[in-house]
Symmetry: C2
Subunit: 415 residues, 2 copies
């Protein structure tokens, strides 16, 4: 079946936000075996919105619209669909109640425009929103299936996974099966070179590389009449990829992130962890703690951005800071050792670097980052030179720290 | 004039890459005073590409296409435009030479398909590519202006700035000017209620509300013949919005984020800050440290996720944890006081809460968060009930902490 994505929002047309929803939805639709030929962005304008929906209905079986479901007068997506399909908007009592509860919980007064969000095209299916007020909607029209999703990614993504994927699975009968081999510590072009021969042969299954910051995900996808048949096509390729990338493969489980694989590795071996961060400012600890159950592993994290706090909190000696500088191998090592003795954790990791845009020098340019990992008396330090803006450098540093941490723990366990 | 953006590339339709080019081009076109009503993404398919271009030509004055100018058989953008406009493709000698030079410099052999990149629709203007082989192209058709740009952002962006902006400036004489009033601590629908009368009147300037987590941004935009005239339309509305929202307006500067406004407020009054985080795990410190120059203000942050670390590192007394629990007003206060005495900072903020999905009880449900702020011997504590998933609750907590911090500091300074 053919799907078309319509993103609604003047803020996208004005370039205020990057349309990450479209990328997310496109990836998920491809996974679900749907073909996507067009994506459209249209503003909060009734006439143009209706024209886009009509055009989409003429060229696709399934339309997925995102955005424009909020309480304001600008939010017109639901109204446009209802008008085009000649459906009345009726109050959905469950949604009305849910919205009321949210406001009561937050101790906020409900303003009248909020009730607009509980209006649903007659006969449509409500997709409950666990993360916001506006519900999603699924309408089965004569020739089309139309799905309306709220714009905020933290509402759209869980709703899509929980409510829309089951609907799509019923619509698309040929089975798409895919597995993703997640790799850390190998660059995208190197990864591609390693699998070039496999990629050239591909047709069914296909191998698609997705570059994430510091990671490469290789998705192997097969289409077949049954899941078993598709799995049979995918399995040997996954096996081959695991053989080629060895320990750099951290999971083939779609629910496992790099930080989760690290937490699980530590938990399995009863090891506790502490972090010391300078330029990343807590991003590493935040990512680790975002893993459910991280409390069993994560002892504490210290954010020591200034030299003084590195000295006072982590016990980094003044001569180290003066002689080698805050961004140095020696400071990273001292931070990692300091946090270990402070917290009595089994493993520690420390990050110090120049995230920019200022603070770079000829010898220590923006993007230079040192990461140290301490385990069982052994400290491993790596030097990195990342590129990109401040937030990209910080993100790359966090992924590099997780990768180094994983490598050091695995090495220790192999002893 | 009206512009339409068409991004060409199957990799966007598959969700392999996020369409950052469209966001960049949209923002630049808005700045140039152009109205953009549609963005389209279409794959490397001649038929659909031609249909998209025809549709774009029928509804916009200027079409900007990106992608599909490379050397491979998949790259069809130029060919599609030439076919639609009945233009022959002719070899451009300068471009041919430029491509040859690039290959010689890189010591690479030129494969035959590379010459395809030097083919230009007859009569079109070549936009030299300083960062890659494929040139951009500008074609003046009967009713439309068509610009073709290479897909890689590091080629597209400089080419747009250097070659396309001057063309657009000649085409569009009216000016767009906008300012954004950023508000924290007021919900989106409440904000809208406050400005309902202004929004109903709007035409030029317009007011567009953008909801961010815990924030609302109101963008006021005017179109006029000169920048001065547009500013004159925008100013009184901005002034009115500032009057209506008072201290909840944290900035009207587009480059200032909430965390930046907090850092600047503290810096201006020579106050230092320390943070203590439980459920947010370092997200608050990470956001603060992402502000350039935060080092002057930010003393240290502690991530104390476990009870033990709250006791050991922040000195939270065991009876407090046993009697009131880790998620309580009392613990938040004790954390805020503990980090203050640990770091000798002037101001501290502490967060403790249930981010879920597990760990909620009837009395302390998922989403319950306490935030305490200490300044000059006075501690302010707020209780929040957030909804959403783990990461949404954490994000809401961080914004609430920044909002409370800002409020407490401002209150203290008013004394």
């Amino acid at each position: 079946m053919v799907v078309e994505l319509i993103s609604v929002g003047t803020e996208i047309l004005l370039g205020n936000i990057v349309n990450t929803n479209a990328a997310y939805l496109a990836e998920k639709c491809a996974e679900a075996g749907l073909s996507c030929y067009y994506q459209t962005v249209v503003g909060d304008n009734m006439q143009r919105l209706k024209e886009s929906i009509e055009l989409g209905m003429s060229r696709a079986d399934i339309l997925i619209l995102s955005g424009g479901l909020g309480p304001t007068q600008d939010d017109l997506t639901k109204e446009a669909v209802a008008e085009l399909l000649n459906l009345r908007l009726v109050m959905d009592d469950d949604t009305r109640e849910r919205i009321q509860e949210i406001f009561e919980k937050r101790n906020l007064e409900i303003t009248v425009n909020n009730w607009k969000q509980a209006l649903i095209p007659e006969g449509a299916t409500v997709l409950d929103n666990a993360n916001g007020t506006a519900p999603g909607i699924y309408v089965k029209a004569e020739k089309n299936h139309i799905v309306l999703l709220p714009g905020p990614p933290n509402e759209l993504i869980p709703m899509f996974e929980e409510k829309v994927v089951p609907i799509l699975k019923q619509l698309e009968t040929s089975v798409i099966y895919s597995r993703t081999v997640k790799i850390c510590g190998v660059g995208e072009s190197k990864a591609e070179t390693i699998i070039m021969d496999l990629m050239e042969l591909q047709e069914n299954p296909t191998i698609a590389p997705y570059a994430k910051t510091g990671e490469v995900h290789l998705r192997v996808t097969a289409k077949a009449d049954s899941k078993e048949e598709a799995q049979k096509k995918v399995s040997p390729i996954v096996k081959e990829l695991k053989a080629r990338f060895g320990d750099d493969v951290y999971t083939t489980d779609p629910t496992v992130t790099l930080e989760k694989s690290v937490i699980e590795l530590l938990k399995k071996h009863d090891l506790t962890l502490a972090t010391a961060e300078s330029c990343t400012g807590g991003l590493l600890s935040a990512r680790l703690i975002n893993v459910e159950g991280a409390s069993k592993v994560f002892k504490a994290g210290m954010v020591t951005y200034s030299n003084k706090s590195k000295r006072k909190i982590l016990g980094v000696k003044k001569p180290i800071l003066t002689k080698f500088g805050a961004v140095s191998k020696e400071t990273a090592v001292s931070m990692a050792k300091g946090i270990l003795s402070q917290t009595q954790a089994d493993v520690s990791v420390a990050i110090t670097g120049v995230a920019g845009p200022d603070g770079g020098t000829e010898n220590k340019p923006v993007g230079l980052v040192y990461i140290a990992c301490c385990i069982d008396g052994i400290t491993t330090t790596n030097e990195y030179q990342f590129s990109g803006n401040r937030s990209k450098i910080r993100e790359s540093s966090v992924v590099a720290a997780l990768t180094l941490l994983r490598k050091c723990v695995m090495k220790e366990l192999k002893k």
